[in-house]
Symmetry: C2
Subunit: 312 residues, 2 copies
């Protein structure tokens, strides 16, 4: 199958496991930004984030035999919940490696969805090692949160829905963390729109994707000092070439931009989003002239926040 | 016209000025509560609360001559915004008397909707006196936030929509502050449903309505120590007889109940509500046995919160 067929297949097979999320607009936010914005509310998605799409697609693409042995992932957040819930609904075990310092609300959610948590020291190396041990013991299939083509294709279905529900977008914006959402969205826009381009929005504090596109090789972040806790991860060798080929550009935003955008979305759309979700709207506000008069889709990636730690 | 015709007329004439707000459900909140709950999202209403309905209806029922002289109200919050926005859309001046200590976010909103603010000392007597002075000077028509039949009928249209969109409700719950919403909803349920009863939910800290129903006369609150800042007002002589006749019962809830219900709505529905909106869901959780297995509509009255002052 080519990318177009793969996206169609992904969308078809995950439909019983996901919500077709609503799309909100606000005349006031259009006025403030100067653009015509359609917010795709993946914060209303099952388990509260778009990650449900990629997790379901990746599990459904495993063979019967593979599924029987279960799946394993390492994630501090939404992908852990997504794999847990998708596995539960499909009826297979899910092993989740989580850093000890992950927010309690996220650990509780994983448990609530039936995921089996193994806690580990919070470093990328130790996480992977812990996952490897589980794979050796159980034969479970490893699912990477973003550097996995089935995951990327699943994530692309949110943009596909946006393009089905509204015509003639100039741009779709997504946040960029591990790169799965922006890569999948760029594939969807390329194969399911006339001329819509995908732009990634990234916190300046973790601008690895921006620097990677400049240098032509995968760069890493030296610190992860952003409130957008879902975007602290790095690109991978599967999504990076897709991003290089299909993503129009990346826009970096400051922490204060994110805070301001997040506040406006809470105040005006009256919905709960996590800080990562505010990054694309922050990019539209920052590049007002670029987006003036344009029709813009924004993927609000998720709504799983620790309410006691809201940044305002 | 009888009440039924008045409600139909109100709904018809305010339609161009309001949103038909969405109704949300959550399988998890149904599981937690044991009831089947439909949340009517008046937090997504224009200016962020159901008050838009009553304000628009009251203004539209004024004569041309009355409208030309404008309207005046005293309100610390949502009704002030509602009158400002409705007056702006209808093209007449709105004078708003606000206590000096009203939250800045509410003052800014009133100004944003074109209302002319007169600040006054925060007491009910001084508010009314200030409004009276404006009436003398301008000839503006006074609109009471809740003790006005046209306002009550306008507020009732939210329950009417709920009853149009879903069948066979056992109960509709609303918060009780000044009594306009619960009275209007009770009229709507009486005239537009087979057997749906309306229940009011009230913070124990401001249980004037509860005590009024017990004693048979309008009681007042000695303190207003509740986080549900929209519910600190008292019943009036126009809505009280309607409440006595048509409201099934009132349920009082503790502050901790409100906090818990509010948190669940933020976490699970992923929407922004003000504390007053959480009071009916708190009542359902508190009286779990009473509501078990029942089909319940809840009017989420508004979403105008000061984000810096969320109670969690």
């Amino acid at each position: 199958m080519n990318y177009k067929e793969l996206l169609e297949h992904a969308h078809q097979q995950i439909k019983p496991y996901i919500h077709r999320t609503p799309i909100l607009t606000s005349s006031l936010l259009n006025e403030i930004s100067g653009a015509e914005i359609y917010f795709k509310c993946e914060n209303f998605q099952k388990m509260g984030a778009f990650k449900m799409r990629g997790a379901a697609n990746a599990i459904l693409n495993l063979s019967e035999d593979q599924r029987a042995m279960g799946v394993v992932t390492h994630s501090s957040g939404n992908f852990a919940q997504a794999v847990s819930l998708a596995a539960q609904k499909i009826g297979i075990p899910a092993h989740i490696v989580m850093p000890e310092n992950a927010p309690q609300v996220k650990k509780d959610a994983v448990k609530g969805y039936g995921g089996k948590i193994t806690e580990c020291f919070p470093s990328i190396e130790v996480r992977q090692k812990t996952a490897d041990q589980i794979i050796k013991k159980t034969g479970a299939a490893f699912l990477h949160p973003s550097n996995n083509l089935d995951v990327i294709l699943g994530q692309g279905t949110a943009a596909k829905e946006l393009l089905e529900d509204h015509d003639n977008f100039d741009y779709i914006l997504t946040p960029v963390g591990g790169g799965g959402l922006v890569a999948g969205s760029a594939l969807a826009a390329n194969f399911f729109s006339k001329a819509c381009k995908v732009i990634g929005a990234e916190p300046k504090e973790v601008d690895d994707a921006y620097r990677s596109l400049l240098s032509g090789k995968i760069e890493s972040n030296e610190s992860t000092n952003t409130m957008a806790d879902g975007l602290r991860t790095n690109l991978g060798d599967i999504n990076f070439p897709i991003i290089q080929k299909y993503v129009e550009r990346l826009i970096c935003v400051e922490e204060l931009d994110i805070l301001e955008a997040m506040k406006l979305i809470y105040q005006r759309l009256k919905i709960v989003i996590e800080p990562s979700s505010a990054v694309p709207f922050a990019a539209v506000l920052r590049e007002r002239n670029f987006f003036a008069g344009k029709k813009v889709g924004i993927i609000l990636s998720g709504g799983n926040v620790d309410l006691g730690k809201l940044p305002f």
